[in-house]
């Protein structure tokens, strides 16, 4: 469950961007649309606690994350918010499986091998568990990123432009994966994008301007 109240941000304390209040229930999916420069990524980062909010509140599963700081905030995020970034980033020195183990550990959760195997197989990349992320194809990388975002069964899944670089076929594939895995954990799925194709898949839409 995800909520924002009077959220607004400014990079230089002179121009303020105001964001609409949102109130998303669990097990629902939403699109946040807008052209480049409308503050979509900023909005996402504020919701995800990656950017410290100057005005307004963000409430995830009942907890006001804008009041959390430092290690507490980081841990909460690792445990409750799964984030899929525009660029696929990994710890390149370790394998796919180890990346997922790290995600579990850093969130303060016990290492569960079955969960890892499970999510890798749902995403059809179980056979790449021991591979180095650098060796994966673009599509495989994306799936690993999704796996990592979901490994801790978060309450909220945030995705930043997950399909913008993909062709129609792969776009459909990724949408299917996101919906499927979000449903698995009953998370609130929020996709931030300017890709209009996604409008056909997700009826709940908010547009930023």
């Amino acid at each position: 469950m995800l909520q924002t109240e009077n959220l607004s941000y400014s990079y230089d304390n002179s121009e303020w961007i105001k964001f609409p209040d949102i109130h998303f229930a669990a097990d629902t999916s939403h699109l946040i649309l807008g052209q480049s420069g409308t503050g979509k990524t900023t909005f996402l980062h504020l919701i995800g606690g990656l950017l410290e909010s100057k005005k307004g509140k963000v409430i995830v599963n009942g907890t006001d994350i804008t009041s959390l700081k430092g290690q507490t905030l980081d841990k909460f995020r690792g445990d409750n918010i799964g984030i899929i970034f525009q660029q696929a980033h990994f710890i390149n020195a370790i394998s796919v499986e180890e990346n997922l183990i790290l995600a579990q550990r850093l969130a303060g959760k016990p290492v569960k091998q079955e969960d890892i195997r499970n999510i890798l197989s749902i995403l059809n990349i179980e056979h790449k568990a021991n591979a180095n992320p650098k060796q994966l194809s673009q599509g495989e990388k994306q799936r690993v990123v999704i796996a990592r975002a979901l490994i801790n069964k978060p309450a909220v899944i945030l995705a930043d432009e997950p399909t913008s670089a993909l062709d129609d076929h792969n776009c459909a594939e990724v949408v299917k994966l996101l919906e499927q895995t979000a449903k698995e954990v009953k998370a609130t799925l929020v996709i931030v994008t300017h890709d209009n194709r996604l409008m056909d898949y997700f009826p709940n839409q908010i547009r930023l301007s």
Partner: protein
Amino acid sequence: MSKPLNLLLSMVLFGLGIGLINFLLLLNHQLKNQFDKNLAGIDVVIGAKGSPLQMILCNMYHIDNPTGNISVKEAAPFLNPKHPLIEKAVPLSLGDSHRSYRIVGTDHSILELYGGQIGTGKLWVQHFEVTLGKVVADELGLQIGDRFQSSHGFQEADDLLHEHGDGFLIVGILKPTGSVLDQLILTTTKSIWDVHDHEEGDGEEHDHESHNDHDHAHDDHAHHDHEHDETGFNLVDYPDEQITSILIKFRNRTNFQSLSMPRNINQNTGMQAASPPIEINRLYSMIGVGVDALRNIALIIALVSAFSIFISLFSSLKDRQYELALMRVMGAGQGKLFLLIILEGIILALVGCLLGLLISHIGMEVLAQYAKASYRYSFTGWLFLKEELGMIIISIVIGIIAALIPAWRAYRTDIHETLAM
């Protein structure tokens, strides 16, 4: 780490710096040890006029050549067992060797100086009997009962081989003493004289004079009427013969007369007296300059390489910024990132240090082999100093310091900025 090369290089550099410093420490330590052990409580060395340092080095450390010889007649007063100031006077005759190990013509009193004891066999008594130091026996694989001919000078060379009858007979081997005694071949003074009596056309360094009370025939090699059972040999009975030096131990070191003896000898006789501690200290101060310069260079290298660890860590941050931000996203917390970098610094410095210490010991061992070949001194690569523990600790501290600024940068990673790109 996906790009270990940079970090590896800085680690190796650091290791080299540490290795160099430790090597110098090891060398210094062992050199001092060897020199101190061989001072053997000797107060004065009397020999031919020349460089006092050379005389000490030759007669006490058995490096370098003799400055010349002195006649028994001149030396006799100091060999008197009833001399009021002198407790012990050991005569040495040098100049010959066997396979690069020096033969010393002397009497048994030399053993008391170095704490020598017979190991197997017996001490030399008859002329042309020898007792070997332990290292000589081991290195040359000699045993009691073996015979050999001596060579003139200190190098192995066939054309300098003396040929005297059946040569020298090994009758005993000493226990190891850890001093220069281990490297010597000991025999009687007279054996050395007899060997040289048979020489014709000697080299210039060899300045024996004709012996007119010598009752052997000179010109006939085949004519062996030497009497080799002169156990009643008394050195002072041969005033016209020559020896190389006398090693002297005073009864009382602080006695004013003892202290002024060397000066008296230098001014009033044709001989030279030198004080080992004074000459060796002079040697230290000459070498010391070189050692200091080397040590300063080593310190600079160590500092530069510590700096290189810093640079490597710092530049690696740039490559790793996404990974660091990602770890924050996953829940790491700023403190963890800080510690991660610090830990990397420690590991780099520590492994570099251990590597360097290993290199220094290997280097020392290599030097030891060389030193053994050239100088017959035994150094070892496998002696560890207390200081090495200190170096490990200092390395860890350096690692932490070098990592501080990069660790701070990691701590301050801005997730939003990094990942919004």
